[in-house]
């Protein structure tokens, strides 16, 4: 009797498992097709869009391809993927960040898609942001990235950085906001600047100069203007737009080797030196005090600092738009990054790409799917999430992305920025060892005002140069 019961229980369990298995994936559509595995990550809304896209592709493609989509955790994605792709069971197509591309090429994990793209009838590189495509090119023999270097991924998107500003706070301190291009027939002389200091007019279509941004930030900083509704006027954690605006950079390639150049003090014409531009960036939180120090802004993060009304202007990427839409209880919009009065507009953008595994046995099928995702059809759907700008230039100019019914009203700023913004320093070299020498101290002691810029360069220039030698080996 007892054994009969046991057999019955086991039989029920087996049947239940078989039933659950049968209720699982409906593989009928996959039968007889070449199956490829696609791994990605993202928040729920993005993943939902991707699932729909994959389902649509599976149902409609005429190439006899079936895509299995797997959502991977965002946390630890890079490290776990490196290990998986180094093994023998990697996915055929997956996400690669612009900061990981060179490292993954060096590790021999990515498939060179240069020829496939050249032969493609769907992918037109002329239609994709050149600033996005370029970051996925890399020649590992020379460790350089030129327009003729092999292409290893196609951009999924591009996320430029802009100033998010609290429009209510601006109005509270008597600033008038206008949104007029320089060629707008209605624009007046007073509105022809990013910020007219005398007239207190802010034009969100024109980049402010450093001086204008500083004056506006002081008006919105309590220590300068007790009537300011915000504690601080301005916050940025990145030096890129300051140093790049005057033509400088953090490293320079001289005589076949990399050199730490952030401390270069040679000025060029009317422009300040790289070091002076960098010092100005540091002074925002240490001398001018218009920007909160990193140890003031808290570990909760700058976006929260902005949405809680503590800082009036914050530099951040397109990826924060969704959070700000949800959390900000005030009127807000976006404006271009400040530039030096004699310099060029500059700033950094982030990007994620689609890449194919070097050892994939279905690389051509994976590329077919990549054509769909990185091409006009897939991009139109992805743009609706609002996270980042689609890779297709024409699509970014359309209402699909600009979403005129939603904030920010001045979304065109993102599109303008995508033309010139390039990746941050984390994408310069195959890994970030050279950054970890100096960046933690910059983001800590220097910006907190505990270490001077002179001490910073005295301590880290040689150390960083020593580390940079390893990239030439």
């Amino acid at each position: 009797m007892r054994s009969g019961k046991k057999i019955a229980i086991i039989a029920v369990l087996i049947l239940s498992i078989l039933f659950l298995y049968a209720c699982g994936d409906d593989d009928s559509i996959a039968k007889g097709k070449t199956q490829i595995n696609f791994w990605g990550w993202g928040d729920q809304s993005e993943v939902a869009v991707f699932r729909q896209l994959v389902d649509y592709y599976n149902a409609t493609n005429t190439d006899n391809i079936y895509v299995n989509y797997t959502q991977k955790p965002a946390s630890g994605y890079e490290t776990s993927m490196e290990q998986i792709l180094s093994g023998s069971r990697g996915p055929d197509i997956f996400y690669v960040g612009d900061g990981s591309l060179k490292k993954w090429v060096e590790l021999d994990l990515l498939y060179d898609i240069t020829d496939l793209v050249a032969e493609s009838e769907i992918i037109d590189l002329g239609e994709i942001w050149p600033t996005a495509v370029q970051r996925y090119r890399y020649d590992k023999t020379t460790r350089t990235s030129t327009p003729s270097s092999p292409l290893y991924a196609l951009p999924k998107d591009i996320g430029p950085t802009v100033i998010y500003y609290n429009a209510d706070a601006f109005r509270d301190v008597g600033v008038t906001i206008v949104s007029k291009d320089p060629d707008d027939p209605t624009v007046t002389e007073n509105e022809m600047r990013g910020y007219n200091i005398e007239e207190k007019i802010f034009n969100n279509r024109i980049p402010m100069t450093w001086e204008e941004a500083e004056a506006l930030a002081k008006l919105l900083t309590k220590s300068y203007n007790p009537a300011s509704p915000t504690d601080y006027g301005y916050y940025t954690e990145w030096w890129f737009n300051y140093v790049w605006s005057i033509g400088g950079d953090v490293i320079a390639y001289d005589d076949g080797k990399w050199r730490f150049s952030l401390g270069d003090d040679r000025a060029d014409g009317n422009l300040p030196s790289t070091r002076e531009a960098f010092e100005y960036f540091v002074s925002l939180s240490t001398k001018l005090n218009i920007s909160p120090k990193p140890n003031t802004i808290s570990t909760v993060g700058k976006t929260n600092y902005f949405t809680s009304g503590k800082v009036a202007m914050m530099v951040d990427g397109r990826w924060s738009t969704v959070t700000i839409r949800k959390d900000a209880q005030f009127d807000w919009d976006v404006a271009p990054l400040p530039k030096h009065k004699d310099g060029v507009p500059a700033g950094h953008s982030g990007s994620m790409g689609f890449a194919i595994w070097k050892h994939s046995r279905r690389a051509r099928e994976a590329f077919k799917f990549m054509e769909f995702m990185a091409g006009p059809a897939g991009q139109a759907e992805q743009a609706k999430t609002g996270f980042n700008i689609p890779n297709q230039i024409s699509l970014a100019q359309s209402d699909v992305f600009l979403q005129p019914d939603q904030k920010p009203k001045n979304a065109q700023v993102f599109v303008d920025a995508a033309y010139y913004q390039t990746p941050g320093d984390w994408a310069y070299l195959p890994d970030s060892a050279w950054i970890s020498v100096w960046a933690p101290t910059l983001n800590g002691a220097v910006l907190n005002g505990q270490m001077s810029v002179d001490e910073f360069f005295a301590t880290f220039t040689d150390q960083t140069n020593e580390m940079l030698k390893r990239y030439a080996q």
Binding site: S298, T299, D431, A433, S436, A439, N443, G444, Q450, Q463
Partner: protein, 305 residues
């Protein structure tokens, strides 16, 4: 008697075979997943592998070890690790104090107190770290909120290199206190009460009794905790990875194992698995050396059972 002998003769070989087969499973597992990687890491520490792959790796001799020992970041990671280990003496003293108080028969609800103290020890390190990250937040953390009642503007504990490690030490003490209290409590209950009675007759006060009787009697447990916490302290990593992504302000959270992790994974192009393996063996020798030193020193203060 004869039947006993027969029983042994017939059953002993059976048990030996069974025992052998039972042992061979974990032993095989250890050989494949423990011993083999261990030996491979020795080999790899003298080579420069290409990424994660062994084929094509080049022999570099002692270069990996030399590079690590010359790297200022590694030296900083040693300093950070030792700084973090300041939590060990604090925890030992505090937990002994708590265990002594709890050993007082007049205290009620001991089990509840012990449970409360032990909860952090059984909690997930990720959950605990995230909770502390919130507690110590400069803007929204409860610590600074409480300090604000006293008119003190608290710092961003985890964002400032000067306050980062003290905050981590407090977290470390809190996390390991319960385990120490439980072991000390068990040790204290095993101290022979007659020794205290005899000492009282001789006129010894509470302090003398504690120093002359309690301390020597529980010294084996104290020694065990000291050895283990030094080993755990030298291997400290997970909570730092969560609390100090990228190494924290001024690399204040870069411990030796965090450095190893960065070398093997984050910065695999410039460092690589060879250097990571070299760091792991340097760490092994440091742990072995410190533990040996502990054992050598223990002869002078640990009571023999």
């Amino acid at each position: 008697m004869a039947s006993d002998l027969n029983y042994k003769k017939t059953t002993k070989p059976k048990y030996s075979k069974l025992g052998f087969f039972m042992a061979i499973i974990p032993l095989t597992g250890f050989a494949i997943f423990g011993l083999l990687p261990l030996l491979l890491s020795v080999v790899v520490s003298f080579f420069k592998p290409v990424g994660y792959r062994f084929p094509g790796m080049s022999f570099v001799g002692w270069d990996n070890y030399a590079r690590v020992l010359r790297d200022p970041l590694f030296l900083k990671s040693i300093g950070n690790t030792l700084y973090a280990m300041l939590s060990i003496p604090v925890t030992l003293v505090l937990s002994l104090l708590i265990a002594t108080i709890l050993s007082n028969p007049k205290i009620k609800g001991k089990a509840i107190f012990r449970t409360i103290f032990f909860i952090p020890h059984v909690s997930s390190i990720v959950a605990v770290s995230l909770m502390w990250k919130w507690i110590l937040d400069g803007e929204y953390g409860i610590v600074n909120h409480l300090l604000s009642f006293l008119g003190v503007k608290g710092p961003d504990w985890l964002g400032d290199s000067r306050t980062f490690m003290p905050a981590m030490i407090v977290m470390g003490v809190w996390g390991s206190l319960g385990f120490y209290v439980i072991l000390f409590s068990a040790a204290l209950t095993n101290v022979d009460p007659q020794l205290y009675e005899a000492a009282e007759i001789d006129g010894a006060g509470p302090f003398t009794k504690f120093v002359k009787i309690t301390m020597p009697a529980i010294s084996p447990v104290t020694f065990y905790l000291l050895v283990m916490s030094v080993i755990w302290g030298l291997q400290d990593f997970a909570r730092f990875q969560i609390m100090a992504p990228g190494g924290g302000p001024d690399n204040a959270g870069l411990t030796m194992v965090y450095y190893l992790y960065n070398a093997g994974f984050t910065n695999i192009i410039t460092y690589g698995m060879g250097i990571a393996a070299a760091v792991s063996w340097i760490l092994t020798f440091v742990i072995a050396g410190v533990t040996a030193l502990n054992f050598w020193g223990s002869r002078k203060w640990v009571a023999k059972s």
